[in-house]
Symmetry: C2
Subunit: 321 residues, 2 copies
């Protein structure tokens, strides 16, 4: 059995990069870090619990990726560039067969974004992963939820609903072919945080949020904080490759309310449509224009013809479901 | 049942202070923060698990205090001034009877140190509390574990062992009178982070660590990181008020190896003894000189007469005990 200190040293200690913002990493009471001059530090914390956010037998490589990805997605939604993270980990046992791939999955994604592991904590307990992530964004350029304006276009990156479709397959809510599940599962297990897009949207987008609990609910946070309403065209929402093959009603339900997508929903002025498309192209991701911010409060969902739809919606809530 | 968002709003959202370093707090994808110019950010994460770090029926007011206190203690050990923290919380249920006192205990301590709650996460799950805390320390003045020098005095703040004595009482390892338990218990349940002392020791102390897993083990981290050894006078260690009444062998064992003390162990040059005492006086805490840093590796423990002691020691390890 590895000790706590051996465990940290073996799987999670690495030398800091020469250009690191971090003066001191894993192994002291605190890490020491200094954001670049003129930069604000964006900070987000997430906690993932076994059996709730992931299956107890989840592939540790994918899980390591996903735990960091959902945090990087929060940075992306602020337009912040990842610089560092801390990891607090409760584990039933210090099993190298699990820890090595878990660390590899996490650190591979971290390396891709130049995001250094600078500290954390490990303890025995029910498998729980809590990450706090740090990014940099120039002062006044953060994409805040309260910054949408009436008349803004509403945009969505990538596609929606395949993560939810995979979950429906695992839960036997729907029957998926092996091929469908194989295609949809990576959207659930290994989401791609839209970090480059978030950075590219600085100075272009007004407000942004990442879609973790379902578009309708998450867009609701922008509405609430910006004190506005919106109309969303349900048939403009981009379904994932697998969901695209399914019937209209399911497409609407899972794109609007799926959860676990980790795409960006953002608002931008109509006059900057071309700039949005250029930013998305530079970031290598598709974007779709799906609605409009409005003064009238509430979220109105319409079909391609502009007719109102009555859909049973509601964001995922950890204490209600 | 409260929803996740109502829960955050009701118990954990408060307006930011006018002089806050924080530009944006709870309620967006990320918090936004800017350390003062010339300041390094000190960052520490801790995770506390029910049944391991605290009893499942622990008083929520004291627990709220303790969870933040152990993190502030890490800042103290760097000489950093607390500015903000994030809280990730897994709860079996959103019970107001538990949440209100928990939040009160935590936020009362936070207010005492001007440390703002700027974000976090709540989810359903086995009771687990993960805090990441942020402090400021002037560049080059942090009290690092690797900065001790041979010849330095070793100092301890406050007193040691009463937290361990209370635990021994709860576990029936020892019989404590009601009066003894009443006196010792607050040292276990409501530790006092030595924040003011840590700040006062900037420019005076070389290295510091907070004593969470027992002095011998924690001092071992300074030895290892500074590549030095030490001699410790077991009989110079200041026992807590209750432990002081107990026999010599227990005093030695619990002061050297007790755990949960959250005192500071720090090293400072001999010529700065007076400055150490002045700093401690200003911070309102006693300090005791208990040993010497040496070139010869290893930790030597001696009695008041300088005779070597053979003691069964070992720091607390979450995956070994």
């Amino acid at each position: 059995m590895l000790s706590e200190f051996e465990l940290i040293a073996r799987y999670f200690s690495r030398p800091l990069a020469p250009d690191s913002r971090t003066a001191l990493g894993v192994g002291d009471d605190c890490a020491l870090m200094m954001p670049a001059p003129g930069m604000q530090l964006a900070i987000s914390s997430d906690m993932l619990v076994s059996g709730r956010h992931f299956f107890p037998d989840a592939d540790p490589l994918a899980l390591g990726h996903k735990c960091l990805a959902v945090n990087l997605s929060d940075l992306a939604a602020m337009g912040a560039k990842p610089i560092a993270f801390t990891l607090a980990l409760a584990l039933p046992e210090a099993d190298p067969e699990w820890l090595a791939p878990f660390a590899n999955g996490m650190l591979a994604l971290a390396d891709r974004h130049g995001c250094e592991l600078i500290g954390g904590d490990t303890t025995k307990g029910p498998l729980t992963i809590s990450i706090t992530v740090f990014g940099e964004v120039p002062s006044q350029q953060a994409l805040r939820r309260d910054a949408a304006r009436a008349g803004d276009d509403i945009w969505i990156s990538g596609s929606l609903g395949d993560a939810r479709l995979a979950l429906a397959g695992y839960r036997n809510e729907l029957t998926l072919s092996d091929h469908e599940l194989l295609q949809a599962a990576p959207r659930m297990h290994e989401p791609t945080p839209r970090v480059e897009l978030g950075i590219a949207l600085r100075g272009i987008a007004h407000a942004a949020i990442d879609i973790s609990d379902g578009l309708a609910g998450d867009l609701g946070h922008i509405l609430q904080r910006s004190n506005l309403g919106a109309t969303l065209d349900a048939d403009a929402l981009p379904p994932g490759n697998v969901l695209q093959q399914r019937e209209l009603e399911l497409r609407r339900r899972f794109t609007l309310n799926g959860g676990d997508d980790y795409e960006l929903c953002f608002t931008a002025p109509v006059r900057l449509r071309h700039a949005v498309e250029k930013a998305a192209h530079a970031a290598g991701v598709e974007v779709a224009r799906v609605g409009t911010m409005e003064h009238a409060s509430g979220l109105r969902i319409v079909d391609a013809g502009g007719e109102p739809l009555q859909l049973e919606l509601g964001s995922f809530d950890h204490f209600r479901s």
